[in-house]
């Protein structure tokens, strides 16, 4: 961006014609470039902050404006020509204000567009046009403030380059390069933005995961149970009634037949409800990609940081560095590991006589990779250990018993296995395997 402003300045200077040859002192030219880059860096840093209030916007536009002005005047100072320059202070001030004003506008536009994701391309173009106008406006107002008086003093011609050899082609090339660079940087930025969005989403899932236990899921299952229970009631009742019609002497076949026909319709209705739920849950097959489970482990630990910290749990990783890549859906695997981590945290909530410690390990396994989540919690009651993966089985007062059942279906959808073993002297180890990427089933 700094180079962009700089090239604007010097390209525009090409358009500036004096009846005398103009040359440039190149160290000063470099200095002006630095001014552009530094001020741009600062402005971009501001614009990349999470929140921007009016004060901050004003401050950064002042700095941006000063930066542009500094670039301009240092650039002017680099001119070596047989004339003395004079500047009209009023117009200089106007030029600086110009630069600041436009910078402010551009910053606000850009920021507004970043904050909400409704940044239409039109808005982006508008904001860069305004920024461009800031630079050009500044430049030409600045030039208007300069008056040149021919002087007889010989100019210092050391370290001087003529701008003409660079000429339009040279500067255009640089500008083009800049444009390419800025497009690349914006793409990178977008990539980061997408990643942040994904993290934010995953984070909200952690929160959801907890709300789920308390209410939302409860609501869902209640209404689901109702939706299925109604047709089932109708089926049971219709069939019972039909049996009674058949048991009469003589049997009433017509009544029995129509009752059974209605029972079939209601049984199908119940099955439709289940079908709808299934369709809802697996709307699209998860995109399976080759990924490194260690990365997923670390991402999830970042997400669960608050949860771990809030319960006084210390998390450690013992991951194997060159673990094979596995085939999986990153989001589902995150969900799976979060479930296991939160289970681990919950199991240690009553532990006060020993450290609350959660260790996540990854290791190569004949199938691909083995991941273990080990806690120092209450451990597994051997009687319940068999049932913990069943839907609706829970040992927690607020639990609804879906976490481990969902976890197991995630693992199975990935062609792996999830099981639990006791950990001596305390706690449990939940472990699962994932298939190696590139290995056919």
């Amino acid at each position: 961006m700094g180079i962009g402003i700089w090239s604007t300045h010097f390209t525009a200077m090409l358009a500036f014609r004096l009846p005398i040859p103009i040359r440039y002192h190149w160290p000063t030219v470099l200095l002006s470039l630095m001014a552009g880059i530094v001020s741009s860096a600062f402005a971009l840093y501001i614009a990349s902050r999470k929140k921007m209030g009016p004060v901050r916007a004003l401050n950064s536009s002042v700095i941006m404006g000063i930066g542009i002005a500094a670039l301009h005047y240092i650039g002017m100072a680099a001119m070596r020509l047989a004339a003395a320059m004079h500047f009209d202070p009023f117009i200089v001030a106007l030029a600086v204000l110009f630069a600041m004003g436009f910078s402010l506008l551009a910053l606000l536009l850009t920021f507004d567009l970043r904050e909400e994701s409704r940044g239409t391309p039109l808005r982006k173009i508008l904001s860069s046009l305004v920024m461009g106008a800031a630079i050009l406006g500044m430049h030409f107002t600045g030039m208007a403030s300069a008056s040149f008086v021919p002087s007889a003093t010989p100019t210092d011609l050391s370290n001087v380059v003529d701008i003409d050899p660079l000429d339009t082609l040279g500067i255009s090339t640089v500008t083009l390069l800049i444009l390419v660079l800025s497009v690349v940087s914006s793409a990178v930025d977008r990539r980061f933005y997408a990643q942040r969005l994904q993290l934010a989403w995953a984070e909200s899932k952690v929160v959801l995961n907890h709300t789920v236990r308390v209410g939302a899921m409860d609501e869902l299952t209640t209404s689901l149970a109702h939706e299925i229970n109604q047709p089932l009631t109708a089926v049971v009742t219709e069939v019972s009634a039909s049996l009674r019609w058949l048991a009469l002497q003589p049997p009433n076949l017509d009544e029995a037949r129509s009752g059974l026909a209605r029972a079939i319709r209601q049984a199908n209705r119940a099955s439709d409800v289940i079908g709808r739920v299934r369709a809802l849950l697996k709307k699209t097959p998860p995109p399976m990609r080759a990924l490194n489970v260690n990365e997923v482990v670390h991402e999830v630990l970042v997400l669960a940081r608050n949860e771990l910290h809030g319960h006084g749990v210390r998390a450690k990783t013992e991951t194997t560095v060159d673990v094979p890549l596995v085939l999986g859906d990153r989001i589902q695997l995150q969900q799976l590991m979060l479930n296991l981590i939160i289970n681990g945290i919950d199991s240690m909530s009553m532990v006060n006589d020993r450290p609350r410690e959660l260790i996540i390990k990854s290791a190569p396994h004949p199938d691909g990779v083995l991941i273990q989540v080990q806690d120092t919690g209450e451990g597994l009651d051997p009687e319940k250990a068999q049932r913990i993966f069943e839907p609706f089985f829970t040992s927690k007062p607020e639990g609804i018993g879906m976490g481990l059942s969902i976890s197991r279906s995630i693992v199975e959808a990935h062609g792996g296995r999830l099981w639990a073993t006791p950990h001596s002297p305390h706690g449990a180890i939940f472990q699962f395997t994932l298939q190696r990427a590139g290995k056919e089933k």
Partner: protein, 209 residues
């Protein structure tokens, strides 16, 4: 034979459950009337016959338990069987305390519902019979002359003919005449019978007030 005239009212918002219940109840020879909501039930003129109400808890608008309370407030004594998709204990306690015959969780065994319906209809029949008897008694009691009523009240309170004669200021024989005519009009076989009748009348007026 009165069975034929008994009516089972069903209030459930799910049409298929309503139809299925109707089919089941019809199969044992009872009449059924269906309603999709509590409001619909309240707005319909119900025939004068032994009846009971099979009521779903989860209804749009007025809930089943609300309807139960409204009917009680309006002095409608129809026996109620509550059915629900997801009954919890507090809900069933509330329904039973408010006088429900039975609290069934869907899907229920057909026999459980039919048994409950039999109990409910039996209770309604008894209640109607009792009410009819009391209405008859009241009619008879009201056919007594003021003097006969006075004498009956005093006889029932345990006063002797002589005491009554003294208190009202008439001859003891006249009291005897009033007394025997009143017994005849009330169709009482004995003094004990008459006492029971008056007690029932008092009881029903006390209950109603």
């Amino acid at each position: 034979m009165t069975e034929r005239h008994s009516i089972v009212f069903i209030v459930d918002d799910d049409a298929s459950v309503r139809e299925a219940l109707k089919n089941l109840i019809r199969s044992v020879g009872l009449h059924v009337e269906l309603f999709g909501s509590a409001t619909e039930f309240l707005e319909t003129q119900r025939p004068d016959a032994p009846s009971c109400l099979v009521l779903d808890v989860r209804l749009p608008g007025i809930s089943g338990l609300d309807l139960q309370r409204r009917l009680a407030d309006a002095n409608v004594h129809i026996p109620i069987i509550i059915i629900t998709g997801h009954g919890d204990i507090p809900m069933s306690v509330r329904a039973m305390k408010a006088g429900a015959i039975e609290f069934l969780t869907k899907p229920f065994r057909d026999q459980d519902l039919l048994d409950a319906i039999q109990v409910a209809l039996e209770r309604d029949r008894t209640r109607r019979q009792r009410e009819a008897e009391i209405a008859g008694l009241r009619e008879r009691f009201e056919s007594l002359s003021p003097r006969e009523r006075d004498v009956v009240t005093k006889v029932v309170s345990g006063m002797l003919n002589k005491q009554i004669a003294d208190e009202i200021g008439i001859a003891e024989n006249t009291v005897k005449v009033h007394r025997s005519r009143a017994m005849e009009k009330m169709q009482a076989q004995s003094l004990a019978d008459l006492v029971k009748m008056v007690e029932r009348l008092d009881g029903s007026t006390a209950k109603a007030s």
